[in-house]
Symmetry: C2
Subunit: 294 residues, 2 copies
Amino acid sequence: MTALEVTLRKFKFTRILSHDTRNKLVYVLGNVDDQLAILSFERAQYDDALIPELAKHTCQLQDVIENNIYGWALGNIDIQQPDTRIKIIYPATELHVKKYEQQDRRMIVETPTMYRDITRPYIQSLPSERIQWVTNILNGTSEADRIIYRDNDPQNGFVILPDMKWDGTCESLYWVAIAFRNDITCLRDLTPAHIPLLKSIQKAAYEKVKENTNLDADQLRLFIHYQPSYYHFHVHITAIAFADAPGVVAGQAHLLDNVIDNIEMYPEYYQRATLPFVIGNNHPLYLAHHPQSE
Amino acid sequence: MTALEVTLRKFKFTRILSHDTRNKLVYVLGNVDDQLAILSFERAQYDDALIPELAKHTCQLQDVIENNIYGWALGNIDIQQPDTRIKIIYPATELHVKKYEQQDRRMIVETPTMYRDITRPYIQSLPSERIQWVTNILNGTSEADRIIYRDNDPQNGFVILPDMKWDGTCESLYWVAIAFRNDITCLRDLTPAHIPLLKSIQKAAYEKVKENTNLDADQLRLFIHYQPSYYHFHVHITAIAFADAPGVVAGQAHLLDNVIDNIEMYPEYYQRATLPFVIGNNHPLYLAHHPQSE
């Protein structure tokens, strides 16, 4: 028996942390030998090679509904193949628990005043070590072999590399462009002075993606997060085919084309705009905006 | 044997129409007695009642990887429960095939000129029967029992009702507000004259959702689609918890808070803006923008 099997046998269930019924993915918390353990179970996708055989291997139909040309049922597929992906974190910490626990997410409709008085001081309070990993990428001390493109100009330069979320397939392309300059913390800082940087990132992204994957410019979604997960300017580069890429929803993703157009039309757009964003209600920034709920 | 089982036995596989590996949902095309049939297979979610038992029913582990506190494996769950949802359309038409076939989706970066010369004439060319169902809802000849709220003012009035995509749960709330006036075809038409309508929809949506589900205003995402699926002004009302609600992605969904702010700051914002949107490359509007590809 592998250590994993031993752990599974000893696992004592405490509670469900989250259950994504669309993706059929559940995280559960429990104990193994009095230490925290987190398990996840995810239904496996159908194996492409077996898809032509699914109809004839359907059995034990129940709850059958038939209406005109439409029919529905629940059933089983009697082909022997792994049906579940299992992951384990053991021993786990409270931080792991927090990460996988379903959060109540809320919308904050941030006015320029709220940005100045609450969000900006929050950003400035973050320790600079938090983005040490970005500095390491930029100066070449880590991930140097993963860089796809590098423009060393101190004002308008940037690197492009694959995002850690990318699985390597063309349909789920997920890259990121990170600026060298460190004086743009977020969308709110963007002004007409940054248009050359933004356009240069756009141009390089289109060219490098075309070279590497043959995807055209109009098959890509380039966007900026607000709030971003780290406050050093970067642009997300994803395939449009990756429709449910993490973080492409309105209220978090701002399309680069839109951002450039807004600044060109209205130079102070991002300093004057009300920007709604969605955030977990145990996030420090949420608590800063709702001091009574701490 | 039900008719559905007979059809499944006779099904001759032709090809995969689409395969969503994240949601574990596959559509396949085939023939039954020389007529088209479309089948879909979707992995069933884990039954909530059985989740506490999953760990001890895990078996036949393979591809085990262990690294420090992390472990991964593929396996099976030996609990007897339906593992697949099956749907069938039979006999199916070419229109059904088109609907379920994976489309190549492309970004169009629409300038005001492109709107005036291509998109607007396309909208005006659509037969008015296409939105007869909207008229039926507004005048009470259909779905009258589903109306949640009605404000009969001819200028700023609207109805709120559940969207057909809503499954009735609080976490996946999906309602829609439809304006009575029929002179707003889309986002491009919005001006400061429409602010009272927009704010009135926002206020009623917050109040009615609170009454019906206890969700607060900051747990809702109100947005307008561009392009919309029908050109009669309407606002989508969804729970933020429904993170992967259809159509909430940037480049399709425009947050109502943002729209109101843009118009209040810049009265001609939507007439002057460049608005990127994503569309299937066999959609008539895509073809209108790319006449050479027809």
